[in-house]
Every structure is written in structure tokens, then in C-alpha cells.
């Protein structure tokens, strides 16, 4: 059941209807768990087993952390290792099966079974949330943080954790919510308190980004495939690279907005995932604006525990590189994702060093800000090539073709519509600079015109349906 498909809409409406029946208020959490498991079962029945294993492992271990303060660290480490092993088995099954076949420890049949394992929907997300449950329980037990995860009995903790890990709106591609932010929201929900206005804005904004921008741009960025792109002009290749950067943003931000909107319908606030990412003036600024739920997870559960920026420039650079390498590996087990992680790791480390060298002397003039935005946008867009193209050699060929194919005439039939769709994302980002202008606040009263226009375009200018890019992770 693809999110945004007719089946999904019907499913959500039915669950929503049952969820708010006053007589069933005591069972709201159970209703959501059953619905989430059904959503998961509908996608692939076998995946439910993996999700249930993850729920069981994380619930039992977080409960043990709570009950046995003396061994809390041991349990937390065991739990994290278990989560990483489960994720690795599915994410890196081809590498693992290859290694096992070389070692000849397991039978060929077992190795083949591992090699053909399919990636369960959203495993990367519920694994990170599972780790968050363990770490937050540990920190809470050790008195580092306030008590946000209330553990009364094992059964109530099991039910709460099951909903935390399986809540269907965020199940496919996040946003990743941490345990200390989700558990306090576990309370009775009332129909009268639904924030319809916000829900409407999130869902319509998300649908517009996905259906109108991403699904239309994908019919052009389709040409970014090897070896076909080697005969395109340099301008075409650069425009396609920009087009893919905008498509990727629209696709992922669109999904996130819809997920947040549906979360609101059921009374849960999911974290914002994007904040005008393409106006970032440095790599660290970019990561505070792009896939924010992942970057804050990496910061809180990896970068800071590694020492963050407290141990000198060299150690900070190594930490940044390591965190981004893990972020790359989290996306997939191919060399391209690792290279993408290294690319961003280098960007972050270099940014910090440059800031130390020149940061205090440079003034933030509008021109300098614009130059920085352009540089970072290009840096990020080149990085997306590692996502779009399956092999590192293809990325190299793409960049080489940009420099070689200057003599080839550009194809305006390809460029004009891409500019048309991309310009909407550029306008959205430009809005950041004027959104708080006192002269324009009166426009907020006419928000409904904008949302009416978005709905109109969804109705008439929807692209051909396509799965979300981030579903593969």
C-alpha cells in the first residue's frame, strides 16, 4: 500500500473513523497498533515478523535497562548491537552473503537465502527509533534526562513501544521521532482538538510537492542514466543535475509533510524534516535544514557521544567524517552511498576549518550570502549524483561529460519545462528571505488563495504516479 494511493487514503479514513469513536477512546493506542501492523502486512506479510522482532527486542531491553540500573549500560549496548545486526542483515545482505560464501562457514543454501532477503519497508527508520528508545531509557535511568518514558508495567511499556516503533504515517520514510519526544504524547486524543488548519496545510503542501513537482520532474531526470547521458550537452547535464536536486527535495519533503499532516490527524506531532535546505550557506547549515530528523538523531546519538566538537579540530573532523560515513551506510550498502557520506563529511570538516580561518573576518553581505548559497547548492547537487546513479564510475562519467560536451547543442525541449517546475522550488526558497517582512504580513490573510492554487494544480497538473525515492532506504 503506497502512501498516497487510493488504498492508503481509504485505509486512513477507516482508521480515523474508528479511532475517534468516543466509546473506543480507551483503545486508541491498540487501534493504531493494529492499523500499523495491517499497513505493514499489506505491503509484505513477512515484514511484520521483522517489525515484531524489533518491537520485542527493544521493549524487553529498554524494560531491563529501567529495572536493572547496575547493568543498564550492558543492556543498552546489547540492544544497540542487536538493532545494528538486524539492520545490517537486510541492508548489506549481498555483502554478508558474499563474505559468508568466501568463509564457507554456512551451507550454500543458507547463503543464498541471505542474498535474496528483501529490505523490509522502513527498517532503517524503526531501527534508529529502536536505538533511540534504548538510549533514552538508559539516559533516563541514569538520571541524565527527565523521565519522559514512563514505564509502569511491562505490558503497558510493550504497548507504548509497539506504537512508537510502528506508527504507520511515519513508517515508510520517517520523519524519525525519538522516544523522549513521542512517549509524552501518549494520551487520549479528542476529535475536537484536531488542528484541521495545520493538517490541511501540511497535507496539501506535501501533495503538491510530490504530485506536481517531483512526479513531473522525474520524467526529465529519467535521462540521467548511463550511457544515455554521455551524449547530452553540458547545459542539459547541469540542468538535469539541478532538476534532480529539486525533484529529490520535492519528493522527500512532500512525503514528510503528508506524514506529519496524517500524524496531526491522529493527535501526534511528528518532527519537521525540512527547513528551506537549498538556502544553506554551509554544509553544517545544510544539515540543520535537510532531513532534520535524521541529522538531529545522528547528532544526539552519535556525534555528541563520539565527543562532538569538544576534542579539538582534528578529532572533530574525524567525528564528522565518521558520522557522515555512517549516514551514507544507513542509506544503503553500495560504494556510492559511502562516497556520498565521505563527500558530505569532507564538506562539513572543511567548512569548520574554513570558518575557523576566515569566519570572524568575513562580513555577511547579501552578495557573499548568495555566493555561499550557490556554492553549497552545487556541492549538494553533485552529491545527489551518488544517489541517482548506481555506480561511482557513472558519477565520474557524468561530471566528465559536463566538461566534455560543451560543443553539443542543448535541448530546449528538455530545459524549458524543467525550469518551469524547478522555478516553483526556487520561489519557495526565496520566500524564506521575505516571509517575516512586516510589509508582507497582510498576505498571510490570503493563505487560502495559495492553498487553493496548489489544490488546483494538484487537480490538473499531477504527474504520473511514482514511488517515493526514499522508500528504498
Amino acid at each position: 500500500m503506497l502512501i498516497l494511493s487510493t488504498a492508503f487514503v481509504l485505509f486512513t479514513v477507516i482508521v480515523f473513523g474508528i479511532y475517534y469513536i468516543p466509546q473506543l477512546r480507551n483503545y486508541q493506542v491498540y487501534i493504531l497498533i493494529i492499523a500499523s501492523l495491517f499497513f505493514y502486512y499489506y505491503n509484505n506479510p513477512l515484514d511484520v515478523i521483522i517489525l515484531l522482532i524489533s518491537i520485542a527486542v527493544n521493549t524487553i531491553i529498554s524494560y531491563e535497562i529501567h529495572m536493572h540500573k547496575r547493568h543498564a549500560l550492558l543492556f543498552a549496548v546489547l540492544g544497540i548491537v542487536a538493532n545494528v545486526l538486524i539492520l545490517s542483515l537486510f541492508k548489506y545482505n549481498s555483502i554478508i552473503s558474499h563474505a559468508l560464501s568466501l568463509g564457507q562457514i554456512f551451507s550454500n543454501k543458507a547463503v543464498k537465502h541471505i542474498a535474496v532477503l528483501s529490505l523490509p519497508l522502513g527498517i532503517s527508520y524503526f531501527t534508529f527509533q529502536g536505538i533511540s528508545l534504548l538510549v533514552d531509557s538508559y539516559r533516563q535511568t541514569m538520571g541524565v534526562t527527565d523521565e519522559t518514558i514512563r514505564i509502569r508495567t511491562f505490558s503497558s511499556h510493550f504497548i507504548n513501544s509497539a506504537l512508537f516503533l510502528s506508527f504507520f504515517p511515519k513508517q515508510s520514510s520517517g520523519p524519525i521521532i525519538t522516544a523522549h519526544k513521542f512517549f509524552p504524547q501518549l494520551e487520549f486524543k479528542f476529535f475536537q482538538t484536531i488542528d484541521w488548519q495545520t493538517t490541511f496545510k501540511y497535507i496539501i503542501g506535501g501533495l503538491f510537492l510530490k504530485f506536481v513537482i517531483a512526479d513531473n520532474l522525474k520524467d526529465y531526470t529519467f535521462w540521467m542514466r548511463y550511457p544515455e547521458f554521455t551524449v547530452l550537452s553540458s547545459i542539459d547535464l547541469i540542468m538535469l543535475m539541478y532538476g534532480y536536486a529539486f525533484q529529490f527535495f520535492a519528493d522527500f519533503a512532500g512525503y514528510s509533510l503528508v506524514a506529519i499532516g496524517i500524524g496531526y490527524l491522529f493527535g501526534y506531532t511528528l518532527p519537521i524534516n525540512f527547513n528551506y535546505p537549498y538556502i544553506a550557506t554551509s554544509c553544517s547549515d545544510f544539515w540543520s535544514r535537510w532531513h532534520m530528523s535524521l541529522s538531529s538523531w545522528l547528532r544526539d546519538y552519535l556525534y555528541i557521544p563520539l565527543g562532538g566538537n569538544r576534542k579539538g579540530t582534528i578529532r572533530t573532523s574525524i567525528n564528522l567524517l565518521l558520522v557522515m560515513l555512517i549516514a551514507g551506510a544507513w542509506h544503503g550498502g553500495t560504494l556510492n552511498f559511502l562516497l556520498w557520506g565521505i563527500w558530505h563529511g569532507i564538506g562539513l570538516a572543511a567548512g569548520r576549518i574554513l570558518k575557523r580561518l576566515f569566519g570572524f573576518r568575513s562580513r555577511n553581505s547579501p552578495l557573499l550570502t548568495l555566493i555561499k548559497i550557490i556554492i553549497i547548492f552545487h556541492f549538494v547537487s553533485i552529491g545527489w549524483l551518488f544517489f541517482k546513479l548506481p555506480e561511482a564510475a557513472h558519477v565520474y562519467a557524468y561530471i566528465a561529460s559536463i566538461s566534455k560536451n560543451i560543443h553539443i547543442r542543448s535541448n530546449m525541449k528538455l530545459i524549458i519545462p524543467m525550469v518551469l517546475y524547478s522555478s516553483l522550488i526556487v520561489i519557495y526558497h526565496a520566500h524564506y528571505f521575505v516571509k517575516n517582512s512586516p510589509k508582507l504580513t497582510f498576505l498571510h490573510r490570503f493563505d487560502f488563495v495559495l492553498y487553493g492554487l496548489l489544490l488546483f494544480l494538484i487537480l490538473l497538473n499531477k504527474g504520473d504516479e511514482n514511488a517515493f525515492i526514499y522508500f528504498q532506504f
Partner: protein, 306 residues
């Protein structure tokens, strides 16, 4: 009413829907009154172009006597430029097998006199999308699109703006068939295309060949029941590709399903003056030449005075 407006601010959701109704009414009225002449060839991408060609057939060209069912290979005979004959409509879709076109004719309930089916590399094209055709030929949706043409793909706001920009800002002119001249294909593009087809042949896609042809034969038999005459044709291609294992297998299997004693086959002309851009897709000039040949051969073999 507390139920739905408990925490609405100034009814902006309702207002948003009213804006949609207003915009849609105005846009639809403009489309009906002005009927902007959107060039099919200016469709922004091949996917949208496929939809526009299909809708154009359903809504405007359903009585055309001769329909071409094919892929991007036949699509080089561009409607309204190279196919300048009202008796022909090219219902070829990029990236699809001819099965897709046959399925559309079958679902739309139209009855052309003749269907010309392309046989060649397109048999190996990606999976056909029956879901889109089912939606497109749904009688209720068709009735809605007749009543409200703004819902037709060619009138998508982006397609209309794109057409306007092409014509009035960049001053792109529609290609004139009489002005088309032969070009020398870009060597690197030609090489890339040739390598792709050679690789495809080396992958021995026998299962795909058989499944597509089997699917086509079911549709052909169904269409024949409507008294539609079926003809098969092959387009000229690079000599090396014409001798590949895959293309021989396609021809052999096709002849098994559609024997030459029961069906007319139009072979590519012996004249080797045809030029392709990648070994398979004809240039505009060659597509013009091939269409004239195809038309002549069709008339000759059917003698039905199209």
C-alpha cells in the same frame, strides 16, 4: 457547528476549496472558448506525449481508418508533421510495446479499418501499463473529460505554458515536412544506442519475446473479431542489428503467432538510404521516406482505398 469547524481559522479550508472551484471554472471556460492549439510535438516529455497521443485518439481521432501500433521506433513518424494524412493516426508510445496500443484500441471500442503493428526491438520494451489505459478509457472519465476538457493532459497548465513559451518566447516553429533534410547522426549517440541494442540481444531475452508476442496475439484475435484488418511491418535498422540473435528470434516467433500466409507483412525496403540516430530510430527525413513507403505498401496490400 462544532463538529468540523471547532478550531478552523476564518474558514480558510472552505475558502481554499472555493478558490479551486473558481480557478477551475475560469480555466475550463478559457479552454472551451479558445481551444488553444497545443502542438502534440511540443509536449514537454515522452511520457506526457504518450498520454496526449492516446487522449487525442480517444477524443478526436477515433474514426481514423488506419492506426499504427508501435513504440518510440514508429513514433519517429510524428503525427501532424510526418504523418500529414488524415487517414492515419500514429498510436505509438515511447517505452512501450505495440501491445499497449492494441490494448488501448481494444478498450476504447473503436473500429479502425486497418491496424499496422510494428514488429522489432519494441517487443523487448518495458512492462506495459494497463492501469493507465483502463483509467483513460473508463467511460465515466471519458464523459467527464468531454464535458470538462481542462482535465485532458494536453491542457495541463504546465503543458499550455510550455507551448506558449515555445511558440511566443523562443519562437520555435513546428517542423515543416517539406523542409526536412537528412542529417548525419551524432557518432557518440549512435554508438551508445548500438551498444545498448547489442547488449540487449546478448542478454537472450527469449522469455520476454514470447510473453509480449503471446499477449499481442490475444489482442490481435480479439480485434480481428471486430473485422479490423491487421498488418505487420518492420522498420529499417542498422545492418549489424538486423542480424542479431534477438531480432531474428523476434521475427521467427512473430511469424509463429502471425503466419505470413494469414497476415500481410511489410518488410523494410531494400533501399539502404535510411538513416537512424542510434541504429534503430529513424531521423525525421528517413521517417518521412519510410512513412511514404508504408502508406504505399498498405494501400497495395489491402486494396481498400484508404
Amino acid at each position: 457547528m462544532l463538529l468540523f469547524i471547532s478550531n478552523f481559522k476564518k474558514n480558510s479550508i472552505v475558502m481554499s476549496f472555493l478558490v479551486v472551484v473558481f480557478l477551475f471554472s475560469v480555466y475550463n471556460a478559457i479552454i472551451i472558448i479558445t481551444s488553444p492549439p497545443i502542438d502534440i510535438t511540443s509536449a514537454p516529455n515522452p511520457n506526457l506525449e504518450n498520454f496526449i497521443i492516446a487522449e487525442e485518439y480517444i477524443f478526436e481521432k477515433k474514426d481514423t481508418p488506419v492506426v499504427i501500433a508501435g513504440s518510440s521506433i514508429s513514433k519517429t513518424m510524428v503525427n501532424e508533421i510526418i504523418i500529414d494524412d488524415n487517414n492515419f493516426w500514429n498510436l505509438s508510445f515511447s517505452g512501450s510495446t505495440p501491445q499497449q496500443s492494441l490494448y488501448l484500441i481494444s478498450k476504447s471500442g473503436t473500429r479502425p479499418k486497418i491496424i499496422l503493428i510494428e514488429i522489432g526491438w519494441s517487443v523487448l520494451n518495458g512492462a506495459d501499463n494497463k492501469k493507465d489505459i483502463d483509467a483513460m478509457t473508463d467511460p465515466r472519465l471519458c464523459a467527464l473529460k468531454r464535458l470538462l476538457p481542462a482535465f485532458r493532459r494536453k491542457y495541463q497548465p504546465a503543458a499550455v505554458i510550455n507551448d506558449f513559451v515555445n511558440k511566443h518566447i523562443f519562437k520555435f516553429r513546428k517542423i515543416d515536412k517539406n523542409e526536412i533534410q537528412e542529417i548525419i547522426p551524432e557518432p557518440s549517440a549512435y554508438k551508445v544506442g548500438m551498444n545498448n541494442y547489442m547488449k540487449l540481444s546478448e542478454s537472450r531475452p527469449y522469455g520476454k519475446i514470447d510473453s509480449t508476442l503471446r499477449g499481442m496475439s490475444h489482442l490481435v484475435h480479439e480485434l480481428e473479431k471486430r473485422k479490423i484488418k491487421i498488418l505487420f511491418f518492420e522498420t529499417p535498422m542498422d545492418k549489424k542489428l538486423a542480424e542479431t540473435d534477438a531480432i531474428n528470434r523476434i521475427k521467427q516467433n512473430a511469424l509463429m503467432y502471425f503466419p505470413a500466409d494469414l497476415y500481410a507483412w511489410i518488410s523494410p525496403p531494400s533501399d539502404h538510404g535510411f538513416v537512424t540516430t542510434d541504429g534503430v530510430h529513424l531521423t525525421h527525413a528517413s521517417a518521412c521516406k519510410f512513412f511514404d513507403y508504408l502508406k504505399k505498401e498498405t494501400e497495395l496490400r489491402t486494396r481498400c482505398g484508404i
